[in-house]
Amino acid sequence: MLNLILRRLVLFIPMWVGVSVLSFVIVHATPGDPAAAFVGQDAGPASLDAARARLGLDLPYWHQLYNWVAGSLTGDLGQSFFLGRSVIEAIVERLPVTLSLGALSLLIAMAVGIPLGAIAALSPNSWKDATSIGVSLTFLSIPEFVVGMLLIYLLGVELRWFPIGRYVPLSEGFLPWLHHLALPALALGLSQSALLARMTRASLLQVLRADYIRTARAKGLPERIVIGRHAFKNALITIVTVIGLSMALLLSGAFITEALFQLPGIGSLGVNSVLRRDYPVIQGLLLIASSFILVVNLLVDILYGLLNPSVSKR
């Protein structure tokens, strides 16, 4: 087990450096001059030079890249062009919103997706199966922002059950937080549930065909125990992996959902930064988001080893 964790950690470091370098390269592929975005259109050459020196843009490319990677290791992601604060501060102060949205969406996705897939797998080729496949295909095909707009129109505008376009932090109480976050989380969660339902169905079907399930049934165990203890527990290994891998998808969805619902999270920070060409923030977000995904993948790998001992022994 320790061996597995160490091996994964060794793989993690070059991946992280790669992600960090790529974040820099993409943002610095700009044909224009980032300093021009910083000082504005009608600035003279003198202030442009001054801005370049302040932002470190007058240094050679490799030196800048080195400064970026070295800085990012110590948590220094540079200064935002427009927010008057450091990139890391801007991200950290918006993180709770995105974490709230992500956690609640994930919870909804699991509560909808896993039962939906399990019901289908337990009675394959029945009307239940067909309905489940139909529902998950529908959620898979409607983008989260269309679901969000429909929810806003029906539950926010027509029925007035939910407030729209405001975020209430958890510190002001659980129920107000939930009430304000319910619609965006539902939009994002329902979209995510589709993938989870399909994977739960596939993995449970595969497990149910295994020999040990036939053995469990043959020795007369009640179906409840065969399904609950023998089948579902093993199917869970795949499901946990899928949940981990769907983090990237969830994060992408959060960007659009936050933009639609005007939630002040890192998603809307990202969209706004791209719109006003705030390159340091874009670069910092790329690094933070991909680091998060790398860490989740690392945890999934380790958890997978814990759930499935044959992996960690290999």
Binding site: P14, L22, L137, T138, P143, A248, S252, A289
Partner: protein, 278 residues
């Protein structure tokens, strides 16, 4: 068991048929709609702002009085065209990378780690960052989405190429002195095509959704040139009084993606009977 399963009218045909029919209907509606259009997609009419569906404007008008039907039809051409460009680009580039990685052990590690790094970013954020750096034109949208989605194709092609290159008939071709390129394109590539077709069907759907997401937040195709994504994005300011601005373009988008998902599922099961129940 297998022969029984083959004779039974299975869900596979149903999905493929349903997806194919849906795709045909969508294409027919686009073509017939274009022929029957009475309005231009970009002509403003301030006397007809946010009017609901009527005999004059079948699907209503938007906040600038433009005919929604015309915008959805022209937007459909744009969305499908961008999606198709991304699909073709990722198919070509992804197949090249996958074939080389799967058959050249020296390059395999490097290429696949590069793909891993690209897949380590949330797809939409990576595409947004690329558009921020290069500027948001239609060509750059295709470029950004292709870069984001290429690793998926490359991974699948690489996996298949790796398996196929170990098979006896490839060994045999090597032993009679077939050239490297002949083995790649005559012996390995045809074996990859089925999986590739399934993958690219799903990728077409992803690309359409990706373009819609980028255009929705204002960074994809730029208005007034319509796409399904930016029609919905522009509707953000006014859809609370005008449901048709969400429902019609949203359904156009969803039904197109649904058709592709159905076709992809059906084809996947047709190619690999083991997946029939998955």
């Amino acid at each position: 068991m297998t022969s029984l399963a083959l004779r039974r009218p299975s869900a596979l045909n149903l999905m493929l048929v349903a997806g194919g029919l849906l795709a045909l209907i969508i294409v027919a509606l686009l073509v017939l709609g274009t022929l029957a259009l009475r309005y231009e997609p970009n002509v403003l009419d301030y006397a007809q702002i946010l009017t609901g569906p009527s005999a004059d404007h079948l699907l209503g008008t938007d906040a600038l009085g433009r005919d929604l039907l015309a915008r959805i039809i022209y937007g459909g051409y744009n969305s499908l065209f961008i999606g198709a460009c991304v699909m073709v680009t990722t198919a070509v580039v992804g197949t090249m990378i996958g074939l080389v990685a799967g058959t050249t052990p020296r390059l395999d590690g490097l290429l696949m780690r590069l793909m891993d790094v690209l897949m380590g970013f949330p797809a939409l954020l990576l595409a947004l960052a690329i558009l921020a750096a290069l500027g948001n034109t239609a060509v750059n949208v295709v470029l950004a989405l292709s870069l984001v989605y290429t690793p998926r194709t490359a991974r699948i092609v690489r996996g298949d190429a790796l398996v196929l290159s170990q098979l006896p008939y490839v060994e045999a071709a090597k032993s009679i002195g077939a050239s490297r390129w002949r083995i790649l394109f005559v012996h390995i590539l045809p074996g990859i095509v089925p999986a590739l077709v399934v993958q690219e069907t799903f990728l077409f759907a992803y690309a359409i959704l990706g373009e819609a997401g980028l255009s929705f937040v204002g960074l994809g195709l730029q208005p007034p040139n319509p796409s399904w994504g930016n029609i919905l994005g522009e509707a953000r300011a006014s859809f609370q009084q005008a449901w048709w601005l969400v429902v019609f373009p949203g359904f156009a988008l969803a039904f197109t993606v649904l058709a592709l998902n159905l076709i992809g599922d059906g084809l996947g099961q047709a190619i690999d009977p083991k997946r029939r129940n998955l």
